[in-house]
């Protein structure tokens, strides 16, 4: 297990290095000058030169990249203030420390991701199981049709519709917003309920269809038929044999989905005006804000890589046939 984790961690570091280099150097391939963001009325070549110097953009690209990467481990000093490790620099746009901003936005994203995940797992797996259990029947056809409809919906369409209906028209829910769970658990829950449900709609459809198909596949496996032949009850066969066997592909996809959501659910955050990491990523692209973009990209990539390692480790627990070799 230890060797497995060390090997995967080493691989993850290489992947993150490649992502950081790609992001950094591709950023400079974009025909936009971050210095323009800081250029006031007198935006002549002399002013731009001063700003480039202030931002450290006058140095060679490789030197800038090295300083950036070294700063993550050793920290750096900037004119706007010190930047202790892990230092991802200061935002070009807001002059705020990147790491501090990421940590500030993280609770919103984590709340959205975890709450949404609970909803779509419960609904998706539940509906998938029911459809597989009643394969070919009305319930199966109904749930399959509903999941097809849901998978074709978009958050930016359902979101405003849900607000218009549930908040403005029927006055059943609160206007979506993020309130820290530490300041009011009730407001935290009430403020995120609509985003959770809307976010989960898309995922629910995906998980319904996947869990249905893998369960049906498992129900046709030899070991399940053997269990039936032994005279075990249908419920025991379904939950103990078929369900457990169907979990591996679901856990794989769930790990990737959750990792991606931890990196920021851009469309959901935009639709519901939630200040999370997804919104931060989009803003940093629009603002030509390299330090913030690098920080968010690296954080999101780390989340995805970490969750993948975690998923691989969980395989062994789910299926004893899998060995971490």
């Amino acid at each position: 297990m230890l060797r497995f984790l060390m090997r995967r961690t080493l691989g993850a570091v290489v992947i993150l290095l490649i992502i950081s280099a790609c992001t950094f150097f591709l950023f400079y391939a974009i025909p936009r000058d971050p210095a323009l963001l800081h250029c006031g009325k007198t935006c002549d070549p002399e002013s731009l030169e001063i700003i480039r110097r202030n931002l450290g953009l006058d140095k060679p690209l490789t030197e800038q990249y090295w300083a950036y990467m070294a700063g993550i481990f050793t920290g750096r000093d900037f004119a706007v203030g010190p930047c202790p490790a892990p230092c991802f620099g200061y935002s070009f746009a807001s002059n705020e420390p990147v790491w501090g901003t990421i940590l500030d936005r993280l609770p919103t994203t984590v709340s959205l991701a975890l709450g949404g995940a609970v909803v779509f797992l419960l609904l998706g797996l539940g509906a998938g199981m029911l459809a597989a259990w009643r394969r070919g029947g009305f319930v199966d056809k109904f749930l399959s049709s509903v999941s097809l409809v849901l998978s074709s919906l978009q958050i930016y369409f359902v979101g405003p519709l849900a607000i218009a209906l549930l908040v403005y028209q029927l006055d059943l829910f609160r206007q979506p917003e993020y309130v820290p769970i530490t300041s009011s658990p009730v407001d935290w829950f009430a403020g995120l309920l609509i985003p959770w449900v809307v976010l989960s709609l898309i995922f629910t459809a995906q998980y319904t269809r996947m869990s249905r198909s893998t369960l049906i596949e498992q129900l046709g496996e030899d070991h399940v038929r053997a269990a039936r032949a032994k005279g075990l009850s249908g419920r025991t066969v379904f939950f103990r044999y078929a369900w457990r066997g169907s979990l591996i592909p679901i856990v794989t996809i769930f790990g990737i989905d959750l990792g991606a959501l931890f990196g920021g659910a851009m469309v959901t955050e935009f639709t519901f005006t939630l200040p999370g990491l997804g919104r931060l990523a989009v803003d940093s692209v629009l603002d030509t804000d390299l330090p913030m973009l690098m920080g968010v990209m690296l954080f999101a990539a780390t989340m995805i890589v970490l969750f993948n390692i975690l998923v691989d480790a969980v395989y062994a627990l789910i299926d004893p046939r899998v060995r971490l070799s």
């Binding site: 006031g40 007198t42 935006c43 002013s47 935002s91 901003t101 206007q175």
Partner: protein, 596 residues
Amino acid sequence: MRSRRIRRARPVAVTLAVGALLLGGCSAGGGGASDDRGGGEPAEQRSPIEFADAEASTGPAEDVPGARKGGTLRVYQRDSYAHLDPAQIYVQDEMALAHLIHRKLTHVKLDNDGTYSVVGDLATDSGRPSDDGRTWTYTLKDDIRFEDGSPITSKDVRHTFERLFAPFITQGPTFVQQWMANKTGAAYRELLPDGPYEGDHLPDSVLETPDEKTIVFHFSEPRNDLPYALAMSGYAVVSAEKDTRQKYDKDPLASGPYKIESFRSGKSMKLVRNPEWDPKTDAARHQYVDGFDITFNHQYEDSTKRLLNDSGEARTAVSFTNAVDAGSYQRVMREAKDRTVSGYQSFVAQLAINTDRVEDVRVRQAIAYAFPSKPYLAPYGGPSGGELAGGLISPLLPGYEKDYDPFGKLKKPGGDPEKARELLEKAGKVGMKLTYAYRNSNEEQKASIAVADALEKAGFDVQRKELPTDTYYDLIGDVDNGYDIYVNNWGHDWSSISTVIPPLYDGREIQDGGSNYAHVDDPEINSRIDEVRGIADPEKSAKEWFELGKYILEEVTPAVPIFYYKHTQIAGSKVGGLVYNNDMSNLDVTKLYLKQ
């Protein structure tokens, strides 16, 4: 003023509209019915803003009728504040905030009767000129303090102006620095390259502070607009003792009626009362509400829907600068007109014609006749987005004449292709190729089709060239840009045409990154600019500037007027004190209160 760049990001919509007297359609519930001009009743002619004396500059400010104290106002804003250091403030959102937390030597005050005047803010009056406007003297009021209780002295004012020369100050206005150094562009920095941080200071021949209360500006040329310029948020006072250089941008010391309790960039800001602010020293601001609870990331659609539905906290909410989105405008005016304010913004949309490439004035005039102003305005929301323009000068500026329309843009807002073709034939240029550059925004993409159609009907061969919105102004700002026509939006910095004609049409200002987008270099324009600048009498100066504008448009035609930008805002039903302020180009944030 810097051009308006239509995009979402904060550094672009740079605006300081200094308004004028008798503003039409700018009061609560304003906006008016639409007509063929596309934006309601046209404005009347303006008079110059009065420079007020000590009596008018003495606080407290006259009460807003019906106002009461107490409560916290919710504020929905689209963009977070990138800068809090006044020296770095030059965008509309930050200027609106600055009116609440920062104070300057002068301020443009809006009275209850709609009169605007430049009053002393920290200073006892709007300034005392001598030597034909080359010297200006200011005296500080008593009992003016920063939020930490320290008194504001001439030492702070000196420090405020000296730090504007430091290399890290790159985004604020540069007028006064350039006047002090008597240099154009960024060359003013040579006067004090490190700011006051390496022990150097501005010489007494430029800035004198003989005692704790007195500040004397000395300029080489008459600077009759100084009281206007000093009213810009970018010249608000910074504490000499507590200046933390770059860090000040995140944690400034307030001098206005409110101070920052907390700020989470990109998420929220809380403002609370500043107990050190003395209303007796302030002739313009109020401190009605206990505080402001601001959240960011509210797109225009979102803030409009919340405020229009007027439920829960939205009843006590407002946005300092978010406009009513074009899609909701009709519904807002139908259902909640009494909760709206509207008025002109400082920007005028105009089509610049590259005179280096389109050399024949008859061809430029043909473009002016053919241009379809009304179809161009339609994607911007029609009447909600703007009012069709007959001239290049904003209705907010003194000297503006409302019926001025030399190319019939108001009578024939769809364009006059026949007249245009006639001129083209005379010039022998029928079929002339025109490269038309435009931004790749939704509005511009839609408008470009109408523009190309109209110009082709007149006899041009139009080649459309789409440019990225973010770099649009940098691309058209290159002298050798390779395009024939392109739209730019220009807004005045204060209530004078002197902040419009020289930057746009002075041939001596042509340079890469400059704002003479048409590259017009006409000796008559250049010499008349110098003449009018020397006129001290505001009435005469305003008239002469407008006359020069007429010469430019009719005889040289380097640009085609398109429309004057307008702005409509909505508030919750419990919000009082809704007044549109032309100086701020949005509702007056200093007059807001919560009803019972």
